[in-house]
Chain length 348, copies 4
């Protein structure tokens, strides 16, 4: 018998909206404002981003992560360019080919190590430069935190950024869970994005308590002249922009981003710690943000789903499953989940 | 000296969100829901659409009007197809070439009459069928209400739909202001979309008081097998779908859609009526929804803008200006605006 | 009873290959050469182009006219750019939407006058600059000689080129019948392309006696850095390039281009002159190259076709038909054709 | 001191045109023919293909291999489809991203074994069917002979074809060197293409003595309704089609295809055999068509190039070099080449 539960471990997109966000969007619901981003609140939010990044970054608000990524790639690439990324990256696996279709680029997947790619792998692909039969490598795209929940260190990002500069490429960061990475590493946004020399960041908030919206952050040094046309043509220009701007403004100028990311990170740590000693369960990747990847017996899948704990099977071969924690996950939620797993383990 | 005014006549996108919408989205902010549209509220909203259209239509929620249009076109067209539309249509003029870039199609603009296109114009383009040097006409796309605020009658839509069927084409309706057209004509959604035999409707709510979101409505008879991939690849798949679904659900199941559209239509009528007798002002197109297009002396533009009444110059040649009324426009707003215009007229 | 005739008036693509071309391609069939254009013969042909244009132009050989045009447009445009062209232009009408599909651009058709477009029309479209909702005009594309057989004068091209420069646009010339225009006007290639300040020329030879191939000529001042990638990605990079290079080398360094174009132009003049006084026949457009457009009674179409004189009906409304003369059309061919038309006229 | 040599081992595209081809194309240079493929010679060539394949296949002539592949893929795929191919495949490595840019598809590279891919690898990618976040696998594309010169057996092709059918996918064969594979295996075209159940074949002739052109062969069972529009829009429709048709007609109806492919295969065998016992040289892949891949000391590269024996370094890591034999390679050419290598080996 399947139960309905209010919390699952399926995805940080399954959670709702952090309550204070409703106040934020209501507060800007005052009269008319020029549409399409030329409003007072969008200007204010841009200033908040510049404070947050301690740099004169430019910002474009778009609807979602796929939108942010394809607009980013179109700014950096012509269609004959190649994008070097992890084989597990969201752009490679979870965007239904949007980068190829919309940006026209070729993704060059590199086999990940704990979700990450390395300078050595990049160097292995920087060849045939000037040879028109091959796409020309132009972007290194990393995900921070990665799709496996791991986090790049400052030095790791800096090394990739340096190679990018050396070979006239760009460094793009898909930061759908950028807040989680900041919280985990203790780095500031300035350190992680500006000091590393990255070029464009897809900064997500939806997985951390916002209703919708993603911010494309352009480094101060970057000169992407056509960004406004690219956003519009990619159908990512929101008419009533203030309602995304207000969310990000509140998110970054209050403690919301850090409070929510801290909670989901902590709940993942807590969950991983409780799972460690359970027989039949083994942690597969390092837990460094809000995801816990574990191997469990396949027979447990259906039982746990029937109990209402929805989650994803990531790799069917070894029954790797992904448990995601959210901004609203509580220790009670984890305890309840773990107790059911323990029951399964003890009866196995 | 420029004044700040809470109401403008620039665009129905400049207005804010109808207050009851905040209640609607808060009401679904309960626990976790499966992301990307497989949630309870999206299912409920789909049912509401079927009730509203009195037909087993299918529905996809997307982020905005350009998104709705390009997803619609990709469902109906291969890249070697042509889309017959008014030269003033939003897809032709206001989407920065997204239909060409994303769907790859060719738009074939037909010179509008009061914003509309006619069966005779379609017949003039249905040639070279099977001739591979030419794009093959496949879609008739009309806007209802049109970009000029006029409204197609049932017979006009039906005639275009019949021709579409006769030549193995589709009829697409860009309904960014569909509610205004329904209110104006007194037709039901069933009459205007289902009985006319149209195939796909881009049904907008943002210009009528919603925060964001557009619904693509697929006629029951239509068999668009790939729609889910097209929406995702076009970066129009919203993760926390319930927050668009809830808006549309409330919009269509309450009197919100009709109340708001009635007000903006009425305010346009009221404005037009008051402008009619002012010297120097002449109404350019029939006022049938919430837009009023008038010719005014060019010298007035800057003065009215400085007073805070922002609006658009639509055609510089004869200084055609567009005044849009919104769901929150009041007779006081109109009176104040007209009184300033009267002052200008009397001093000219 | 339909006769087979060796000569038609359907298209200059229906004619075969000028016999000397076989010698030209055989002469380069000597041993191995580096493929894809890095061969000695391609280098030599490039030098021939520079001599012909009296300027350090760059040249890319491609397969055909559509290929030349889409490679040209991709060099000049991003997908959010607009291309201003005649509504009758080959890119707008006869390339099955390739510019939209491949380059992603929007074509903005201007109503032709005798096949041409004017500076005034361009000025009417140079608006909304910097407004992201509209495609940004970037290219003026003209056809020389035009699809109607007329020819732009030096001053007409120069005026369009000047406007292009003034508004940061490019001037593209689709020169599928460029030779015919040179012969007609007596201008040199230097005058028509270099001195007018045009940017890219699609220079065709196939309609003037070559077997295949088109040359994209880039003005010396033009800096199109990505052209080699664009040609390759557009599948227009020929492996055994020497066999196109040799054709163009011979074409331009001998009197072939002028001899062939002179003949087809003269035959058109001769045909037009003979048709002028025939009752029921009226010349529709000025005859300035190798095309003759006439109105004839519809009833004649089938009869003439049955006699083997294949030609195209250009406009069904007034039965405008197009008679094309080729490099191998003779006065005998014309005489025979005209005598049949005269018979029809006398029996009408 | 660099010598000029008439024969290299760089590429079978570096060779010239088989002399009898000039006769073939001259023989069709008779009067006018309807352009764009509706000519008598194209009809005759199609019949020749049907005889050659012993099946009512359909045929489209295009300009080159990249053109054939992208037209093929567009017939089989929507942009949200995935194409499973070897990581070394021409479509993945040597077409500058044309499949992604033009067809919009995602290529899913599988790590080759001797240039080939296997049913097991396909099965590993046939997942997430119906899951809109992922591209949907739709085509298996193999190269026959492979880019490494190996050849798929009948059973290997059949097994891939069976999986394709099982999962509602297509099997595409990139046959740039299809003749070489036929000769090597002794299979007929009927066996290799028709009996295996493949769907589309890109059949090349340029690497086997033709001047230019590639034939897309569509299986009789295949229903690709839009192929003519796709070819035209992809700028692969040749106006004077007869000059490609005549080449293929002669190629397949005479012994040219088998004579030429036999020679280049034999020369590769002869070269490999002579290299086998040379110290410092090791054959890397099985020699099954006209390519020989060997590892040689890096120091030899420049010396051999300076002697005029141009060839490609395929993999810099272990200095894998590719020696290609052509239809016109002779034992003398091989002997001369090998004697220089022997000198290097003896002095090492």
């Amino acid at each position: 018998m399947k139960k309905n539960r209010l919390k699952t471990f399926a995805s940080d997109n399954n959670s709702g909206v952090s309550p204070e966000i409703f106040e934020a969007i209501k507060s800007v619901n005052v009269g008319h404002q020029i549409a399409y981003g030329d409003d007072d609140y969008s200007a204010k939010a841009k200033k908040t981003f510049q404070d947050f990044f301690e740099s004169k970054v430019d910002v474009q608000f778009v609807f979602n992560g796929t939108g942010a990524n394809i607009v980013s790639l179109q700014n950096m690439c012509h269609s004959f360019h190649g994008v070097l990324c992890s084989n597990l990256s969201h752009i490679n696996v979870d965007e239904c080919g949007a980068p190829e279709k919309i940006a026209g680029v070729k993704l060059i997947p590199l086999v990940h190590d704990q979700g990450k790619i390395t300078p050595q792998q990049i160097l292995g692909e920087v060849h045939a430069i000037g040879f028109e039969h091959h796409v020309q490598p132009k972007v290194i795209s990393i995900t921070q935190a990665t799709e496996l929940g791991t986090v790049y260190t400052f030095d790791e990002i800096k090394a990739l950024s340096d190679i990018a500069k050396q070979y006239d490429m760009f460094l793009h960061i898909d930061g759908a869970r950028f807040s989680n990475a900041l919280v985990k590493t203790g780095m500031s946004a300035h350190e992680m994005f500006v000091k590393t020399g990255a070029d464009i960041l897809s900064f997500g908030g939806t997985k951390n308590g916002l209703m919708m919206g993603e911010a494309i952050v352009f480094a101060k040094h970057a000169d992407f002249r056509f960004k406004k046309y690219i956003r519009k043509q990619s159908s990512q220009l929101f008419s009533k922009m203030r309602y995304i701007a207000a969310q990000f403004d509140y998110f970054l100028s209050s403690d919301m981003w850090t409070k929510n990311a801290t909670n989901s990170n902590n709940m993942a740590d807590y969950l991983a710690q409780k799972l460690t000693d359970i027989s039949g369960v083994s942690i597969k990747y390092r837990v460094e943000s809000n995801a816990v990847f574990v191997n469990i017996p396949k027979a447990w899948n259906q039982i746990l789903w029937d109990l209402g704990f929805f989650y994803y099977v990531w790799d069917e071969l070894d029954n790797t499953v992904r448990f995601m924690c959210s901004f609203d996950t509580t220790t009670d939620d984890v305890d309840e989940f773990v107790s059911e797993i323990e029951k399964l383990a003890s009866s196995s």
